[in-house]
């Protein structure tokens, strides 16, 4: 070989134009350990020189994608040329001319690949910058899961890769070859081949094919004259006898074996694969074998005989196309496309799966597809994707799929991008001279729809429908909660949509939360046939609002084709009152809890709570009395409601001093009581000689934010989070709890044993247990609550302890980010913190020697307080989704 030829045909793998045309020296050294020993180095030049000088003569391959031994056995004419010295190697032949139509590897058949990829015309290959079909397969097609050989089905192969992550570059073929090198042989790669049976039936096969690393390779790459069968159901000898044309094709070299001929076409003609099997009889007895769930009757029969085998669906065939035009149709809130398909492997139906890749977005949707296939080889498509969001960035790539056909649609830089009226005109132009179909009629009807003009048109619909949205809530940044009711005759309403700035979101009526509205039903006296029993609606639409759009509105599409528009009330003001209004809408129990929270309350309340805690002004910070210089313990106490507890608590802190230098930080979470609290704090500090640092929050925020505000200014090595209604009974409590932490670094948080006013246990640790009434979510329980405390000095370990009294190392709490503000108002923050500590390998415990009173307030079961119960459930839902493991879920 000349130097030019060497550079062209054997470049380093990293610089190769196509993976099959390279010298992969790293692979070469692993594939041929004897040669590696002889080379004695792992340098590229030395290895390649060895290959050229010695390897070629030994029949070595230059990389894992081209199999020299297979090529010579498959094509005896080429082997003869090599023997005669007119060719250096099979690889040289492939590089010069064989690449056009020959098979370079026992698992790649260009004919098969072309059959399932009708899009890959010569022009298409050029457009994709591919040298040949094998190049396309290795660089693009394998990653798309395309089938290149009937005995290697990517899906079947991947199913044998138990539990491992999907292949790094998505190519099952590359993974297979890589594992083969390591001796990792899969159980099966296709329903058409049985490796275990083959190995048992032909024990000499491996000896006869010394380079074979697995049964599949021995079969496909072995001596063709040996007439070996691939599985018990097919007899090579029988088939060639029965079908001389097959035998002739094999002799000519067109097909690698009678089996290949059978799979390519014989099976479709229901040829008998062996003496014992008659496919025509089989199909008569099992008509489902030909109903499209699998490729052919032979596969169906093999699957029925071997229950362990999964029946693979027919392979996906790949076509191509070009986008002519696309754009949003604002009036419909839909995205429309006009596409020319250049190759159509199967007939085109009405619903089309679309995956559109934009610069900053990927859209997966189902489109209405109107097709004009009168031209035969090509087709025009008009696609309409309802509920499309406004895309971010230009369209880059488009993949369509329908059944067992996929189209890879190019997006030329000259594509027309329309909007609104112009897009409607373009589409209507496309429909001129378009064959009639259900889809075409539907799209055209949609295009003719009267747009929204700002008026409510529900009343003017011909059918009886009442719709009233009573409240709408904005859940920042772009979600909407709708509260209202709708009464309509059964089956009348086809679709309900929210429109905003040209995009739309469908309201899934099957999943909307329903409510009885006897107040509404009483007024609907003239509409007796209405499906109005549970006419109340509550729904949450994430991402429904377009940025900086005008007011949203609703469209109602009836099954008779009419469309009406309904107005929405202006958004409620943000804040806690709106959260309460939202959470008070329903009182779900048991099986109604999870849907209510998963669909509406959970995400909506999360958004509302996050918004209300955002962009806060800094709190005020006042110190009363002179603070100690060095502080070991920072006590942080949120104040809300019973501000007077400050007086009792401070009096008792002054008497039952913590026993270590301490700063007392009170955080007022009720801005309307600032003046009163300042006075009280000043008087308390002076009366008891207890310095007090008062943090005044600008708004009522809740337990977690209040504690975190205190944490931000705390100086102590340790922090004690305490409720305002917790009162010490003896001095030294701070020193005792701090000592517990100092003695055991694995102890993450420690608290006091808390007692009621009558001396019974209020809290000595919490255990979380699932409650069936509330979707099986876990709630904190207090064992021994109300009972007499038992004697004992040892720490009581618990799954979690209450935030009413928690002592931690300040650095660790800061590292955890403080308490999690995703929990709203006050609930579960303590359990969440303890779970985070546990995830770090740290424990939570109560010190029974340190006792304090905790005057727990009344429960929230009062009537008319549904929102409080639901607030607790919201926090339980948040905790559940954060901490449910398969074990706890069971």
């Amino acid at each position: 070989m000349t130097d030019d030829e060497i550079d062209l045909m054997l470049p380093p793998a990293g610089l190769a134009r196509t993976p099959w045309c390279a010298f992969d020296h790293a692979w070469y050294l692993r594939a041929y350990p004897d040669a590696a020993a002889e080379i004695g180095s792992d340098g590229f030049e030395e290895t390649r020189n060895f290959y050229i000088a010695e390897g070629v003569a030994r029949g070595h391959s230059p990389n894992m994608y081209f199999d020299e031994a297979f090529y010579r056995r498959r094509y005896p004419d080429i082997a003869a040329e090599i023997a005669a010295g007119r060719l250096v190697s099979g690889y040289q032949h492939y590089c010069l001319i064989g690449y056009v139509g020959r098979a370079p590897h026992w698992l790649f058949d260009p004919t098969t690949y072309a059959e399932i990829s009708p899009e890959l015309s010569e022009a298409a290959l050029v457009a994709f910058d591919c040298v040949n079909l094998y190049d396309h397969y290795l660089r693009i097609g394998a990653r798309q899961g395309r089938v290149a050989h009937w005995l290697f089905d990517p899906a079947t192969y991947e199913a044998t890769l138990s539990g491992t992550a999907s292949p790094a570059n998505g190519s099952a073929f590359a993974v297979f070859l890589g594992k083969l090198l390591l001796g990792d042989v899969p159980a099966r790669t296709s329903i058409y081949f049985d490796p275990d049976w083959f190995a048992a039936r032909y024990p000499d096969a491996f000896a006869a094919t010394p380079d074979a690393r697995c049964a599949l390779q021995a079969y496909l790459s072995g001596d063709r004259a040996a007439l070996r069968d691939p599985c018990p159901e097919f007899s090579e000898g029988f088939y060639r006898d029965r079908h001389p044309e097959a035998a002739e094709a094999v002799r000519r070299g067109d097909y690698a074996s009678g089996y290949a001929y059978f799979l390519a076409g014989g099976v479709a003609a229901l040829h008998a694969p062996s003496a014992q099997i008659d496919l025509e009889v089989y199909v008569a007895e099992h008509p489902e074998a030909l109903d499209g769930q699998c490729r052919d009757a032979f596969a169906h029969m093999r699957a029925s005989r071997h229950p362990a085998l999964a029946l693979p669906p027919p392979p996906i065939r790949h076509g191509g196309g070009v986008v002519q035009a696309h754009g949003m149709v604002d009036a419909l809130g839909a995205w429309a496309l006009v596409i020319n398909l250049t190759s159509i492997p199967v007939p085109v139906g009405m619903g089309m799966l679309v995956r559109a890749t934009f610069a900053a977005d990927v859209l997966d949707a189902v489109a209405i597809c109107a097709a004009d296939t009168t031209a035969g080889e090509t087709a025009r498509l008009v696609l309409l994707v309802e509920d499309a969001r406004l895309a971010r960035g230009p369209l880059r790539q488009l993949e369509l799929q329908q059944g067992r056909a996929a189209w890879h649609v190019a997006v030329p830089s000259t594509v027309m991008v329309g909007r609104g009226e112009t897009m409607i005109e373009r589409l209507q132009a496309e429909f001129v001279d378009f064959p009639p179909s259900l889809a075409a009629a539907r799209v055209q009807a949609m295009l003719r729809r009267a747009p929204f003009t700002g008026r409510d048109t529900i009343e003017s619909l011909s059918a009886k429908l009442r719709l009233h949205i009573e409240q709408s809530i904005l859940c920042p940044p772009d979600g909407v909660v709708l509260i209202g009711w709708m009464a309509a005759a059964p089956g009348l309403v086809r679709c309900l949509r929210l429109h905003s700035g040209g995009q739309s979101s469908t309201i899934d009526l099957a999943n909307v939360l329903r409510r009885r509205r006897p107040d509404v039903l009483a007024t609907l006296t003239d509409l007796s046939d209405l499906d109005g029993d549970e006419c109340g609606l509550l729904t949450y639409l994430p991402g429904a609002l377009a940025p900086s759009a005008a007011a949203p509105y609703l469209s109602v599409e009836l099954t008779n084709g009419e469309v009406g528009y309904a107005l929405l009330p202006p958004f409620r003001p943000q804040g806690l009152a709106t959260m309460q209004e939202l959470l008070g809408q329903l009182e779900p129990r048991y099986d109604l809890v999870a849907p209510a929270f998963d669909q509406v309350f959970g995400p909506a309340a999360t958004a509302l709570n996050r918004a209300r805690l955002a962009n806060l002004p800094a709190p005020r910070d006042i110190t009363f009395g002179s603070q100690p210089d060095a502080v070991m313990l920072s006590v942080i106490v949120p104040l809300y409601g019973r501000i007077d507890f400050l007086e009792y608590q401070a009096a008792l802190f002054a008497q039952s001093s913590p026993g270590v230098p301490t700063e007392f930080i009170y955080v007022l979470d009720q801005p309307e009581r600032q003046a009163e609290t300042e006075l009280l704090a000043a008087s308390v500090a002076a009366r008891f000689n207890l310095p007090i640092r008062l943090i005044l929050l600008p708004r009522n925020l809740g337990y977690a934010p209040a504690n975190n505000a205190g944490l931000r200014v705390a100086r102590g090595t340790y922090v004690a989070l305490m409720n305002s209604d917790v009162f010490p009974t003896a001095p030294g409590w701070g020193a005792a709890l701090v000592a517990r932490l100092a003695a055991d670094p694995q102890l993450g948080v420690v608290g006091a044993l808390l007692l009621y006013e009558d001396g019974t246990v209020q809290h000595q640790g919490m255990a979380l247990e699932p409650l069936a009434e509330f979707a099986g979510w876990r709630f904190p329980m207090h064992p021994r609550k109300g009972k007499r405390p038992l004697a004992g000095d040892d720490l009581l370990l618990a799954e979690a302890i209450t935030g009413a009294c928690m002592v931690l190392r300040r650095a660790e709490l800061v590292a955890q980010g403080g308490l999690d503000e995703a929990y709203a108002i006050g609930d579960f923050e303590d359990a969440d913190l303890c779970a985070r500590l546990a995830a770090n390998g740290q424990t939570s415990a109560v010190d029974p020697k340190v006792r304090m009173y905790h005057l727990e307030r009344q429960s929230q079961a009062a009537a008319g307080q549904a929102w409080r119960m639901n607030l607790t459930l919201f926090n339980a839902w948040t905790y559940h989704h954060r901490w449910t493991t398969p074990e706890t879920a069971a």
């Binding site: 009621y756 009558d758 019974t760 209020q762 329980m781 207090h782 021994r784 609550k785 109300g786 009972k787 007499r788 038992l790 727990e856 009344q858 429960s859």
Partner: protein
């Protein structure tokens, strides 16, 4: 689950859990006083340990998530009632079974002695059986609740007609909102759980007979007097110099306790200018408004020979009784075993009572006192008039009065009964 450390248990000692529908620290009715007296008596016995659980309907005592708490001490429990069905005594509080089982784990009683199934529910017997299959269940019957839907009094719903037998037909006549089938089901439900009781105790034979007639097996029934609290330290009699014949009434002032019979008799005696005077101890604070209005009128029109002393603390009853000559129990309902009778006996005072039910059983005519026909005010007036003039009859009676059982006797009888349960085959 924590277990409390056990005191020394000798072979003669056992652990007893007493259950009272109202906790004695909160109310002071007869049943709860009997329970607490029994608890004190048992705890005084070496080797025995008695715990008490009382119930309350007041939600103020509840602790969120813990229906059974210990506000009063280590050996006492309080159950805050959740959801109770009064028609068939069903406990519908879904948090109760678990809390109750936890308490049984802690207490590990050998005997559970129920002084009521109100508030706990008859279905609690089943919980006990499942949790402690070897424990013995004892039930003291204090009234006819299981038999009679009218406050367990076996008085028709007109408020005064005595009822001798409960049948679905008759009960439906008293309570038309419940059908005969409903009453049949009620009986079925209650008896299904009564079957699990090892031993029934009735304070009077009268009560026992009614229950046996209703369906409780006679072999499971024992008659044992209620244990009452120990008498106060010797209360000396106040020497009196007047010639008046003092009649004492002690207890709740209510229609069924016969207060109107008493007042009518008093009016007649006042007209006859007899030397009889009446001391009425007790008040009507628990009574319905209609009665209270009527009683208020009667107080204003009552004759000068009636003095209303108002409510009294039970610990003072001995001193009060020593100031009267005779105690009258003019109830117009059956009564079971009125504590006032035992208190009168221990203070050596004869008793006048109506001639029905448990009262009549506890007062032997001519030996412990006299009977009058029930509701017969003139007969009462005649008798009192006679006694006022003939003091010798009274003195003679003083010698024949039977001695009331002491609390120690009562406790011993219960101990023997408990032990007997374990030696049955």
């Amino acid at each position: 689950m924590t277990r409390r450390p056990a005191k020394a248990e000798t072979s003669a000692g056992r652990r007893v859990l007493l259950l009272s529908h109202s906790h004695p620290k909160l109310t002071r009715g007869g049943a709860e006083m009997a329970a607490v007296a029994l608890q004190a008596g048992l705890n005084a016995q070496p080797g025995w340990q008695a715990f008490l659980v009382g119930a309350t309907m007041d939600p103020g005592g509840a602790r969120d998530g813990s229906p059974i708490t210990q506000p009063f001490g280590d050996d006492d429990y309080l159950y805050t009632v959740g959801a109770f069905g009064w028609f068939n005594f069903a406990n519908r509080d879904r948090n109760f079974p678990r809390a109750f089982a936890e308490m049984l784990e802690e207490v590990r009683p050998d005997v559970l002695h129920f002084h009521h199934y109100l508030s706990f529910g008859v279905d609690t017997f089943d919980l006990v059986r499942r949790k402690l299959p070897d424990a013995k269940i004892v039930l003291t019957l204090h009234e006819f609740q299981a038999i009679c839907n009218h406050y367990g009094q076996m008085i028709k719903s007109d408020g005064h007609t005595l009822c001798r037998e409960a049948t679905p037909r008759d009960c439906n006549r008293c309570f038309s909102q419940f059908s005969r089938a409903d009453f049949f089901l009620r009986q079925l439900y209650i008896q299904r759980f009564f079957d699990l009781v090892d031993q029934f105790i009735a304070p009077s034979q009268f009560l026992a007979d009614r229950y046996i007639a209703w369906g409780v097996p006679a072999a499971k029934m024992r008659v044992l007097e209620n244990v009452i609290a120990s008498p106060a330290a010797s209360a000396t009699a106040v020497a009196r110099e007047d010639k008046l014949f003092r009649v004492g009434f002690f207890g709740q002032v209510s229609r069924l306790k016969g207060i109107n019979v008493l007042l009518d008799a008093a009016t007649r005696l006042a007209e006859e200018k007899s030397a009889v005077t009446f001391d009425i101890h007790g008040d009507d604070s628990n009574q319905p408004d209609e009665f209270r209005a009527d009683f208020a009128k009667r107080r204003t029109t009552a004759a000068h020979n009636v003095r209303f002393h108002g409510a009294y603390d039970n610990s003072r009853v001995d001193a009060l009784m020593r100031n009267v000559d005779v105690v009258v129990v003019p109830s117009i309902w059956w009564e079971n075993s009125p504590i006032v009778i035992q208190e009168a006996l221990r203070n050596g005072k004869p008793i006048i009572c109506s001639d029905i039910g448990g009262m009549a059983e506890k007062v032997r005519p001519g030996l412990d006192g006299w009977h009058i026909p029930v509701g017969d005010a003139p007969a009462l007036a005649d008798l009192l008039s006679r006694l006022a003039t003939d003091r010798k009859a009274l003195a003679a009676m003083g010698k024949t009065l039977r001695t009331a059982a002491t609390p120690a006797d009562g406790v011993a009888a219960h101990l023997a009964l408990y032990d007997g349960l374990f030696s049955r085959p």
